[in-house]
């Protein structure tokens, strides 16, 4: 297990890369760091690899500080985003390099190179040099070189981010199966919502150097801790609308800016808090006539996504995304009434999620 204890990381005087990070990466888990560019994902990898040091705080492996250890004694294997392959060696020799350095016999080296190349779909380019490969092939060689040898932890920095969509889809499944087979501990970074949810046993959501939430993909999607996680997990993204609360005999009604009831909660929210409702696009039912507890709107945009569509509906100052089946007859300009399914929305007070109770 690797543990970050109150780790701060600054680059220079002003750039804060990580703020008070406390995080455990457990044995044999596939942990995904997910966040926008510049959130601090690569910094976390580099701290474990030993290519950079924390400004303050401690980093432990199985309870012992490793901050003072050189990179080669950290037990980490890393695939770099910029590949860092040996240009004068063939793909096979690049893959074999970490094994030869450990003195493994030739026949076994060849067997392992052949197997990993086959899993990664680069078996046919083993004799080529990196300069003669496509970007996607180079990325797979870099990934292969990182995972070919045993390591306490594999650090994979957006290892499939540069592949085309079809290959990324295929490699995602291969990587997950491979990690299971190897009983590997993996720390994987991505900016893709889908990769994070598909791969992670647990996912840490990072934003500007702050760890916003750690949980299983299911927890993050169904119980986002705050508006950032709510907006960043889920595709299409959650819509937010401002609401006010009206307490009526212990039953709290949530009203939109123009006074319509849109939801309810059991426990009153903190007084004077700014309240927002976060609504998933699949949690809204449209009708073309007014019903109780619906809000009116107009369809401004319709986006085709193949198997489904997204309608963007303006309601007063708010814009709300709604998922529709591909065959939906909805058209731009339609006036519609939106009902929010009671299980499909989240309430945030001052950007932090609060419990709604049983309603």
């Amino acid at each position: 297990m690797y543990s970050f204890v109150n780790v701060h990381k600054r680059y220079g005087l002003r750039t804060v890369a990580l703020r008070k990070l406390n995080l455990d990466i457990r044995q044999r888990e596939f942990f995904v760091l997910y966040g926008p560019a510049g959130a601090g994902k690569s910094t976390i990898l580099n701290l474990i690899a030993g290519t950079t040091k924390p400004t303050s705080g401690d980093l432990l492996r199985n309870g012992h500080s490793i901050v003072h250890l050189p990179p080669e004694r950290r037990g980490a294997a890393m695939a770099f985003e910029n590949y860092a392959l040996y240009s004068h060696l063939s793909v096979a020799e690049n893959l074999a390099f970490p094994l030869r350095a450990q003195g493994i016999v030739k026949a076994e080296v060849e067997e392992r190179v052949r197997k990993i190349a086959s899993v990664l779909g680069i078996g046919h380019v083993l004799e080529r040099r990196p300069g003669f490969l496509s970007g996607g092939q180079r990325q797979r060689v870099a990934l292969g070189r990182a995972i070919i040898r045993p390591a306490d932890i594999y650090l994979l920095d957006e290892p499939i981010g540069h592949l085309d969509a079809k290959l990324r889809h295929k490699m995602r499944a291969e990587l997950k199966a491979l990690a299971e087979d190897m009983h590997a501990t993996v720390l994987f970074t991505t900016t893709s919502n889908k990769e994070a949810l598909a791969l992670g046993d647990r996912v840490g959501v990072l934003n500007s150097g702050r760890l916003e939430q750690v949980g299983t993909p299911h927890e993050l999607y169904h119980k986002p801790a705050n508006t950032f996680v709510g907006s960043f997990i889920g595709d299409p993204p959650m819509s937010f609308i401002s609401v006010s609360v009206e307490v009526d005999q212990g039953n709290c009604k949530l009203r939109t800016a123009d006074g319509r009831i849109i939801g309810r909660m059991d426990t009153p929210p903190p007084t004077n808090a700014t309240l927002k409702l976060g609504i998933r696009p699949n949690a809204i039912t449209l009708s073309d006539t007014e019903m109780p507890e619906t809000i009116p709107g107009r369809i401004d945009v319709i986006e085709h996504l193949g198997h489904s569509k997204i309608a963007v509906i303006s309601a007063g100052k708010d814009n709300i995304s709604v998922s529709l089946p591909a065959a939906s007859p909805a058209r731009i300009g339609d006036k519609v009434w939106m009902a929010v399914n009671s299980s499909g929305y989240h309430v945030f007070a001052n950007e932090t999620a609060i419990q709604r109770g049983i309603n």
């Binding site: 919502n193 960043f232 814009n319 591909a326």
Partner: protein, 351 residues
């Protein structure tokens, strides 16, 4: 505003031909996405429309008039690139005003135009900032605003949002769509991202190897792809391909399973011959024996994705993926049945 026509359009770079004599017609005010992998000829095509590349052979016409010999700056075309090349030493306001100043517009009119476009692109609050202080999403909106403020007849966008995160991409898509709805330029959007193309465009031009594979509405390229390339390139998760052999003229065999075909498939099979590929979307496969046509497979991986699961299963030597409700899973190596409604099969000749 302009209608754009290409006739036998060819682009050669030395001995290499990148665009092989394509024809298309884009209506005035239409929004067309040119979609394809890198090297398919999409950027060459767009750059010939913009006048940034010479036309090797054939013609491009704006409103029926050839523009082959008209310089880029005289075509009234605006272009926004992925690397939005803002002028670093001057403010956002001055960046947007720049194309207007060079056209000699008077100061009060410039101010009006800049503020109007800034308001639409939600840039009013950052007009005083310099490009270095902007987020990438903001910088892109400034790039778009600068292109828009010239009120071009044709607006070309080259992968403008491919590197943004999910939230920013949705937001930028809304901007681009609302710009089009408001100004009704003829808009051409070049991308390798099928989701962007489907979401934004009135019609999608799918290109591969310098040829147009299909030019049709998003619904048509998704539901009725013209060939196996289009079927494989459009759709997320990607469509599944399974090799088939014909068995008489009314049935096919896939991995040892005999499938009876309906009438429209029968005529299709007659065109294709004895061998081909059957394609089926992951949404149209289901776990279990709930249809007359089923395959035996071996479970590989289950991915849990927000409100559904994606399951990978090996049918013989072919790996397929299927979308299931969130409660369904397969274990590694587990024997499972996969059902398919044969109506949803698409048949293509082997590539």
């Amino acid at each position: 505003m302009a209608r754009i026509t290409a006739r036998k359009l060819i682009k050669r770079y030395g001995a290499v031909q990148a665009v092989h004599g394509i024809d298309f017609d884009i209506a005035d005010g239409e929004f067309v996405a040119i979609l394809g992998p890198s090297g398919c000829g999409k950027s060459s095509t767009m750059r010939m429309i913009a006048g940034l590349e010479t036309i090797s052979d054939g013609d491009i016409l704006f409103d029926g008039k050839p523009v082959n010999d008209i310089r880029a700056r005289d075509r009234n075309v605006a272009m926004s690139f992925e690397n939005y090349a803002l002028y670093a030493p001057i403010t956002v306001y001055e960046n947007i005003a720049f194309p207007l100043r060079s056209s000699g517009m008077d100061e009060s009119e410039i101010d009006k135009q800049v503020r109007s476009v800034a308001d639409k692109m939600e840039l009013t609050a950052i007009l005083g900032l310099k490009p270095g202080a902007l987020s990438s999403g903001q910088a892109q909106r400034v790039g778009l605003a600068r292109a828009l403020v010239r009120k071009p007849a044709v607006f070309l966008l080259d992968e403008p949002i491919s590197h943004l995160d999910t939230r920013q991409r949705y937001r930028m898509r809304r901007f681009i769509k609302s710009i089009h709805q408001e100004f009704r330029h003829t808009m051409i959007y070049v991308t390798h991202d099928q989701e962007e193309a489907l979401a934004l465009a009135d019609r999608v031009m799918v290109m591969s190897d310098g040829e147009i594979q299909q030019l049709a509405t998003p619904d048509e390229v998704y539901s009725r792809p013209a060939n196996a390339f289009v079927a494989g390139f459009v759709g997320e998760p990607p469509i599944n391909f399974l090799d088939f052999q014909s068995d008489g003229d009314r049935a096919i065999i896939i991995e040892g399973n005999r499938i009876m075909l309906s009438d429209h498939h029968v005529s299709r099979l007659a065109e294709i011959g004895t061998k081909g590929v059957a394609a089926v979307r992951p949404h149209f496969l289901s776990l279990g024996e709930n249809s007359t046509v089923k395959f035996l497979g071996i479970g590989f991986i289950t991915e849990e994705l927000q409100d559904h699961n994606e399951i990978f299963v090996d049918i013989g030597k072919t790996r397929v993926s299927l979308i299931t409700p969130p409660n369904q899973r397969v274990k590694r190596g587990e024997a499972v049945s996969i059902s398919i409604n044969p109506e949803h099969l698409l048949l293509f000749p082997t590539q």
